[in-house]
Symmetry: C2
Subunit: 405 residues, 2 copies
């Protein structure tokens, strides 16, 4: 059984965190530098963006966890440290600052940066802030870290669960930053996850790589795959369970816990998409293959036209069919059905590829809610998939029309 608990990345035993404002961008007032540390070295795994343009921190992180071990995450917001000539040097220096102030070896440090691309990242405010950052590390510091990695996010995103492996109570928690340039491609955005469950680095990577295919890779805010997408997990084993080293019941429980964390974070990121007023969840069923279900669900979630219609609470289901039609999924159009669902009710709008009469008033009521499910049936096949996204609003344009200033 997976139980939701408080504490974010500090819910698991042996993890402390902190977040401070060190002043990476002069015109911002929020925290901009986060640190998460484990009491002991932890098994580590990560997945990264498939964008060919990659942030320098990704290269450094990849190198540092090549041995399957990490003990800290340092992450700044306000600057992505991407497309800068001195990027690698700066990212390495961030890890070295952690070594200098905590004693954790630089090559056990995961480095993350998020913010504007192509502007040099000044190390000075980070160096100046390290003492305060480290001295403030605490078991109650999860929220401060979650806040420090936010960019245009309007709410912090943290979640934690409790679960049992081999009779031992384990914990897992995660924080994420959204909220634009999100269309993960075989990888994801910035997510830091911690757990005290003992698991080998190899199995940890297997769990993570498997999970993101159905979670972060099924999420889109705006169709733009970021240059800095990273999800990393540290598992420090302090729960005392027998280490998971093979697939089986314990591994399945671990996967379930991880999936609970990642689905929650996906929903939080989608709901807080840049400018978003609504969380959209497209649930595809009846597909002949998993691929068809995924392609169709994700295509619907990505359609600018459908996203705009959802903003306007307009039951324009033709756009759902249109998006399925160009998704690349091999589907029989004459079998497609569409319903809109929210806590205000469910309205069927299309059956067998053609419209069915429905009450516009009823549909409006359903679509005026904050969380909308778009239910699509693709036939009588056995496969399904879920994708998450948000509506397209004036504020998305406003936020992104002048992001750098």
């Amino acid at each position: 059984m997976i139980k939701l608990i408080e504490g974010g990345v500090c819910a698991a035993k042996g993890f402390k965190a902190n977040g401070i404002r060190c002043g990476i961008r002069h015109n911002r007032t929020k925290r901009d530098l986060a640190l998460i540390v484990s009491e002991v070295p932890a098994a580590a795994a990560a997945v990264y963006t498939k964008n060919l343009v990659k942030g320098a921190p990704l290269t450094v992180t990849k190198k540092h966890i090549a041995d399957g071990i990490a003990q800290a995450v340092i992450c700044n917001s306000g600057n992505a440290n991407t497309c800068n000539a001195d990027g690698l040097e700066i990212a390495e220096a961030m890890a070295k600052l952690v070594e200098k102030t905590t004693g954790i070896p630089a090559n056990d440090v995961i480095v993350g940066s998020t913010g504007v691309i192509g502007q040099p990242l000044n190390l000075q405010p980070i160096a100046k802030g390290m003492e305060a950052l480290v001295s403030g590390l605490s078991e109650n510091g999860g929220a401060a870290a979650a806040e420090a990695i936010m960019t245009t996010d309007t709410v912090m995103k943290e979640v934690a669960v409790e679960f049992t492996v081999g009779g031992k109570v384990c914990h897992m928690g995660g924080i994420a930053k959204g909220s634009g340039m999100i269309h993960p491609n075989m990888a994801t955005m910035l997510v830091w996850i911690t757990t005290d469950c003992a698991i080998s680095a190899e199995l940890l990577q297997k769990a993570l790589s498997g999970d993101v295919k159905n979670t972060f890779n099924m999420l889109s805010i705006d169709g733009d795959t970021s240059t800095n997408d990273t999800v990393a997990v540290m598992a420090n084993g302090m729960a005392g369970n027998e280490k998971i080293v093979a697939e089986g019941e314990d591994f399945n429980t671990f996967m379930e816990a991880l999936n609970t964390i990642t689905v929650q974070l996906c929903r939080m990121i989608a709901a807080d998409g840049e400018g978003a007023t609504k969380l959209l969840e497209c649930i595809a069923t009846g597909a002949d293959t998993e691929e068809a279900a995924k392609l169709a669900a994700k295509s619907v979630i990505c359609s600018s036209l459908l996203k705009s219609a959802m903003f306007g609470a307009d039951a324009n289901w033709g756009r759902v069919l249109c998006a399925i039609g160009y998704s690349g999924a091999d589907v029989d159009v004459t079998k497609i059905g569409v319903s809109f669902r929210s806590k205000a009710g469910t309205v069927e709008v299309c059956r067998d590829g053609s419209g069915v009469p429905f009450s516009e008033e009823e549909a409006k009521k359903v679509l005026l809610e904050k969380e909308i499910d778009i239910l699509i049936t693709l036939g009588d096949g056995a496969y399904g998939a879920t994708a998450w996204g948000c509506d397209l609003t004036y504020d998305y344009v406003k936020i992104n029309g002048d992001y750098r200033t």
Copy 2:
């Protein structure tokens, strides 16, 4: 030499057109029904959307021009006649109404519909309007037809050229409707082209299929591939040139004329994209393959983030690099260069994958213009490509938040 002239689809000898308001949507006041006829049967060719969800008119048109001959186009706006149980019946009935009122056989009639998907198309207003539509056919009716096929378009789109084949002066003209749900996939949107040049149906299809790959397929307003995309050409041979039946100099001239028409229409459609304030043209050069150039240019044009930045006249070139990075093009990131150009000047912002110092003030001046070229160099290869798009604005969201009412 290709010379721009007036007249749209009536510029070519033997073509008449008209557009009227027959009342397909009660709350609209603009013309909504267009007819284009040729004095004599014409060679015909067309390309269609690859969306699996296809408007009924496409099926009917495909059948009617299977023999390579057409003599008329009837096209309504306000309703796409798509995802309706009686769609095929209605589309056939539109062709039969043309036969009844003009004598042109129904199976030589191209049928088009554009507008909202999934609402039954009422034949009655069309039937009632036919007499006025036909009696008003004229050699000056190109503009009325161009207006009648508009949906959310704010300007009509027509263009015509004069060229010489085998010593004979030929003419070609086209009209198009935008302006949302535009992301042609191996096909295009609603475009009707006429020419008096004599060419076999086979070569006409070859010319059209070849051309759209570099024109309409390189255009995107919002990433949504329409269900009703169609481009059709009628060539009635009345210019008196020796019929083009093989590749060679005459065919090349014909291709050049066609390309002039289609590029102009692409630019017009992009500039009038839903809510757009700016025409964006992304010109990629230095690629190792044509495919890489096309992928990169189109990806830049499609990025919601870059489109929003262009709306805000913000030289956020990191988003250009990001979009190239996830485009799927096999490029060396360290060789990418980016400049922004308009009639106010050119500003280089990125060289060898990293930023170069530039004047923000200068860049703002360049980006405040109405037509922006985004110049990307991908290396020292020999291939290039051009893609067309527009900025993403508040009005796009407004228009599409409540399109149906």
